[in-house]
């Protein structure tokens, strides 16, 4: 059946024409399988190499509805292929093996296989495999209702649906910001898939972050996300994928660093390219779709150098107040996935929640706006956002930094390494900490205290484990780099933000993950900077007024501390930090 024919026919005759990719290194079995599948009236593509299969799948995500794969293959373990397909393309995968050992079956289940068939395969078993395609679609589209409208097939976000796949494909490639909630074919039982757009993913990550990565449960995430038409199943499957993804990329830092974030969403949404707003997110990967953010890719610069930024920190650009971008967090090594963080436009929600280890000039103005968005760092942890106050303290610097910062950004300034842990820690800390900000008790935190005072919301300042070694690179790098993980929500919902001061990082030791610790540090700047990984959560209230005050007071403080040399840090605000360090 030709593809075209298939299209027409498939529309109404699913499962006839369902496109299957069969992978088995054994030629005999493959041939037999192919024949059996043909007998079931599926459209079959075969390959005896897992690598080739992946290529085929990657080259066109909408080309197949289902994958059947052998378990023992010389070039790649079948389970590995299974995992990759699940993560990248989210297609149903059926395992095939001569091993009837329950261990293998279990492994198949845990790796996400839809089914496990024993060889020799019988045609009866193959006749029903289409159910997995339907099931998958229904599951992910659970929240979406079919409106039975227009069946162009385009509307159907279900990429697994072999029907109308051509049209769908085209459409799918268009910017899809929303979840598709319409199903083109009223007669089909499939529900449209949920498309995890950048926006949605951000919410997801924010929710996970809030709950704590380890404690995140689909139901709670769903509640937090508060998105209509999204079901617990959607969230659960996305969470699973996300976790697998994180796990996977944490092993592949190098290669993926640059693109992993984006890839996640890309993969999970089956979209390719960055036609969406490319926002690199630690793990959050925001898929390009974020047109909403209107972010422009931020050109990678020195700072971001490490980050590979296909996605740019466009967020920053959006900031009206200053050109500086949000924080870039990069977790180069640890998660491997952290890669550049897009600037967080404070003003927007989409706000970049990318926290990457890289110190980026903070966009203070943005902060003021209080968009509090959890930053999703590598592990979907939201980074605490520095209180706007703090940020505002560097407004000038910020800009200044922004402009030059990038190239200077210490590439390795990211405590990235442990960002994971940090985030987790941080995340936990955040979740567990009370909403009130602990009094800054000691000196250093005058800034913080100011902030606290000024801020109407309370927030906690979790610190991450200072397991990350200081990055000496920071020394000469842009000292001004700050990381701001997330926008602060103007609401009382304070999200801790990660705030990195490259200088700080460099010089300060590890800071314990407690607010108090930070507060008690002697380094005044510690209050709002994270040595290596200190996470500060500050809540920057939306009040500009208070921010200004804070800034002023901060500045004063800093000045009192030591010489403020603009040149040194790029912003006066930090000079004192330096000295303190």
């Amino acid at each position: 059946m030709t593809v075209e024919q298939q299209d027409c026919v498939a529309l109404d005759q699913f499962p006839v024409g369902m496109r299957v990719l069969a992978v088995d290194d054994d030629q005999t079995c493959l041939r037999i399988l192919e024949s059996l599948l043909h007998r079931c009236q599926y459209h079959v593509t075969t390959t005896n190499q897992a690598q080739k299969a992946l290529e085929l799948l990657r080259e066109n995500k909408n080309k197949f509805d289902l994958v059947i794969s052998d378990v023992d293959m010389p070039d790649m373990d079948g389970f590995k292929l299974l995992e990759l397909v699940g993560l990248e393309m989210d297609l149903p995968v059926i395992m095939l093996s001569a091993h009837s050992d329950p261990k293998y079956v279990m492994k198949g289940v845990t790796h996400g296989a839809c089914d496990y068939l024993l060889k020799p395969v019988r045609i009866e078993e193959l006749k029903n495999i289409w159910q997995h395609v339907v099931r998958k679609n229904r599951g992910s589209n659970n929240g979406d209702k079919k409106d039975g409208s227009g069946n162009e097939g385009v509307a159907n976000s279900d990429q697994n649906n072999g029907r109308a796949n051509r049209k769908r494909k085209d459409q799918y490639n268009e910017d899809e910001d929303e979840e598709r909630d319409d199903n083109d074919d009223p007669s089909s039982q499939k529900k449209p898939r949920v498309v995890w757009t950048v926006e949605l993913h951000k919410k997801f990550v924010a929710a996970v972050n809030q709950l704590g990565f380890e404690k995140a449960m689909p139901k709670k995430i769903l509640d937090l996300m508060n998105v209509e038409k999204l079901t617990r199943e959607n969230v659960a499957s996305h969470l699973q994928k996300f976790r697998l993804y994180l796990k996977r990329i944490s092993g592949n830092q190098q290669a993926i660093m640059a693109n992993s974030d984006l890839h996640f969403l890309q993969m999970s949404n089956g979209l390719d390219g960055f036609h969406h707003r490319p926002i690199p997110v630690g793990t959050g990967q925001f898929h390009g779709g974020a047109a909403a953010a209107g972010m422009r890719p931020f050109p990678p610069n020195g700072i971001l150098g490490r980050l590979n930024t296909p996605s740019g920190m466009s967020g920053v650009r959006n900031l009206s107040s200053s050109p500086s971008s949000g924080m870039f967090l990069q977790n180069p090594t640890d998660l491997g996935k952290f890669h550049h963080v897009s600037s967080l436009p404070l003003n927007h929600i989409d706000g970049g929640n990318i926290l990457q280890g890289l110190p980026m000039p903070l966009e203070f103005d943005q902060l003021q706006t209080n968009n509090n968005k959890s930053i999703i760092a590598g592990n979907s942890m939201a980074f605490p956002i520095f209180p706007t106050q703090q940020q505002s303290s560097l407004p000038n610097n910020n800009n200044h930094l922004v402009l030059e910062g990038h190239p200077q950004a210490p590439p390795s300034a990211f405590p990235g390494h442990q960002i994971n842990k940090r985030l987790e820690h941080w995340s936990n800390a955040v979740s567990s900490s009370s909403s009130t900000l602990p009094p800054p008790g000691q000196n250093s935190n005058s800034l913080i205290s100011h902030q606290f005072d000024a801020s109407s919301s309370s927030y906690s300042i979790p610190f991450c484990d200072s397991t990350i070694p200081l990055n000496p690179a920071l020394d000469h790098t842009n000292p001004r780099a700050f990381y701001r993980a997330t926008d602060m929500d103007s609401s009382a919902n304070v999200q801790p933000g990660v705030y990195y001061d490259s200088l700080q990082m460099r010089k300060s030791g590890n800071y314990g993950p407690t607010t108090d610790a930070m507060l008690s540090s002697n380094n005044p700047k510690e209050g709002f900077t994270v040595g290596q990984q200190k996470l500060q959560s500050g809540f920057m209230g939306g009040e500009a007024g208070s921010l200004d005050d804070i800034v002023n007071s901060t500045m004063k403080q800093e000045q009192s501390q030591g010489d403020l040399s603009e040149g040194d840090l790029g912003y006066g605000g930090f000079s004192s930090l330096r000295t303190c360090i």
Partner: protein, 133 residues
Amino acid sequence: MQRQVALIKQSLFDQGYLDEQFIELEELQDDANPNFVEEVATLYFKDSARLISNIEQALERGSFDFNRLDNYMHQFKGSSTSIGASKVKTECTMFREYCRVGNAEGCLRTFKQLKKEHATLRKKLEQYFQASK
């Protein structure tokens, strides 16, 4: 000729060389796939010849890497099962069992038997296909 074909086939089944799986394969043969069974059989013998030679080399080396042998045999068994080569499959199972317990002698013996069955099946199938043409 037809009768001859039928006879050959019958004997293959009666003697346990082939099992139901072979019948399934035959059912897949149709106008679109007129020589399906023969094609599959050809593929099988090609593949299995390779496997046999690999196993042979591994055994000749003397150092019995049971794991590797088991892997080979697993593959062999898989394809033999798919084609319905019943006796060959049985020998494979036995071989694997010997591997499992580390019985080198048993492996060698079984392998010899396996080769024999394999060769016999091949010949018979060739006859069968010839007669069917």
